[in-house]
Symmetry: C2
Subunit: 301 residues, 2 copies
């Protein structure tokens, strides 16, 4: 089983096209919905008394949700952000931790055997605590965002020491490692103890770094971007999902996983919030994977 630990949120997102208030979001939500196309996936996180039943039903329809805890004394994590016309740079308006603030990670006993773990964006200290609860992990990934880098960078580095792979945005990799060159950023994170690093660059694709290899991959070209929220999380879900179902990890699987990550991200941006993830079927994922393979094909002999 894949278990994804992280934020389940109510998102307020403003784009030039539409303002959406308190829609279902959060890094764990996007990544778990994405991973669930590839492999059985469970989600662990905390929500408040205000978390709508309809959102719970959506998660239930795709995921093992026994790990979702409800704190009736507080509100759900709320993230408020907006995008300008370029739909590329996000501006954070408000981050209300609410239930997340003093969350002490707990997981249902049957999740302790999960083999594929993703510590999605969340308090790095909580992520470290959560990781200790998994007894049979084969592959652990994590992500983080500027909020934690700014407030708890030491804990972020410590978390990253304890995972196999770091999946992180380019701007955040730069902020965390204090270096503008992405190769240097990745080198620093690998030096810090992780085996590989995936740097996500939004519409500019993503780059996989291992100690001795680099695999840059362009983004799947999308003409009508509606809302970029969650694309990076969906990338991570598709990436981990493909590795989990492959049941082995080598450079070839990692490269394929990068493409599935790109493909999952490409779907998310085409609709608001999680909407596209609820509409697509697996065969559409496979179709984009094949198109991707054709467009990047390069023999060069």
């Amino acid at each position: 089983m894949i278990t994804i630990f992280g934020t389940i949120a109510l998102d307020t997102t403003e784009t030039p096209f539409k303002k959406m208030e308190k829609i279902l979001g959060g890094a764990a939500t996007y990544s778990a919905l994405s991973a669930s196309f590839f492999y059985p996936t469970s989600i662990v996180g905390i929500v408040g008394k205000d978390f709508p039943k309809i959102y719970r039903d959506i998660l239930n329809s795709r995921l093992d949700t026994k790990g979702i805890i409800t704190d009736n004394d507080a509100k759900t994590f709320h993230y408020d952000s907006s995008f300008d016309y370029d739909l590329f740079r996000r501006k954070t308006n408000k981050t209300e931790l609410n239930v997340i603030k003093n969350f002490e990670p707990k997981i249902p006993s049957e999740y302790a055997g999960s083999e594929y773990i993703y510590l999605a964006n969340n308090d790095p200290h909580q992520n470290i605590q959560a990781l200790k609860l998994f007894k049979k992990s084969k592959l652990v990934l994590c992500d983080t965002i500027d909020f934690w880098i700014t407030n708890k960078s030491e804990q972020v580095f410590k978390m990253m020491q304890n995972v196999d792979g770091v999946v992180i945005n380019d701007d955040e990799a730069r902020l965390l490692t204090k270096n503008s060159n992405l190769i240097k950023c990745a080198r620093k994170l690998i030096g810090n103890g992780t085996k590989f690093v995936v740097i996500k660059k939004g519409e500019n694709g993503s780059i996989l770094f291992t100690k001795n290899h680099i695999f840059p991959s362009p983004a799947y070209p999308i003409e009508d971007v509606v809302d970029p929220t969650g694309a990076g999380d969906a990338f991570a879900g598709g990436f981990l999902g493909h590795i989990a179902r492959s049941k082995k990890i080598n450079l070839r699987i990692l490269r394929e996983a990068m493409i599935y990550g790109n493909v999952m991200g490409s779907f998310v941006v085409e609709d608001f919030g999680i909407d596209k993830l609820l509409k697509i079927k697996y065969k559409e994922i496979q179709k984009r994977y094949k198109i991707y393979r054709d467009i990047v094909h390069f023999n060069g002999d």
Copy 2:
């Protein structure tokens, strides 16, 4: 023969590492030096009385320079810009047209038979006039920058109607077509009359668009970027150079040309100004081409 028409400049460039004053630069200079590794290349442009003999000697050593006109009554085109620590976004401090201002394009008679023409960054009206002087062109490319888009956008579109391929930066494609999505930008330029468009994204690679195909290519990964000046022009030179020596144009050649463009750009950024273009040998270009092929290799079956 390739003939490259455009600016031969004295550049003042400030990076966090070094300030260089009035070094040899200009779009035609970079692109012609780059193209010359692949195919015999001539350069057409105008310089002033202040253009140093040593720079003329450098150009003479690699290029057919009979097309360089000297205007003893004015100064050489001067471009002053600076880069911040990220070495990505350039800030224009000053653009002094000088000799360029009222230049009436002339070419030596033997250039009239050139088959491969690149209208490098320059006044679009002059580029249109210059193009009329070539009688046997098989492939014509052009580029432009924000300065001309802002001041002569109608002429820029007219120039682009008369070429086979447009090679342009992402920000400038957005500015010119008033659209943030690059697929839409390319569609507009193809609708305007050019057969293909190459959008250059600096460290984020480049994308080739034809009416029915898209080929996104990551940049060749460079760990130590020193000065990004001229990388896009060197890209165009390598791109055109490979097409010229292949003596045919199809999707496969265009894809290969994209990779040679990436490779040439990757060299330029590793040293100040044109320095790296003067140091490398062709076998190093070929080596990077092969490395590139290996790092982007993706079967995906």
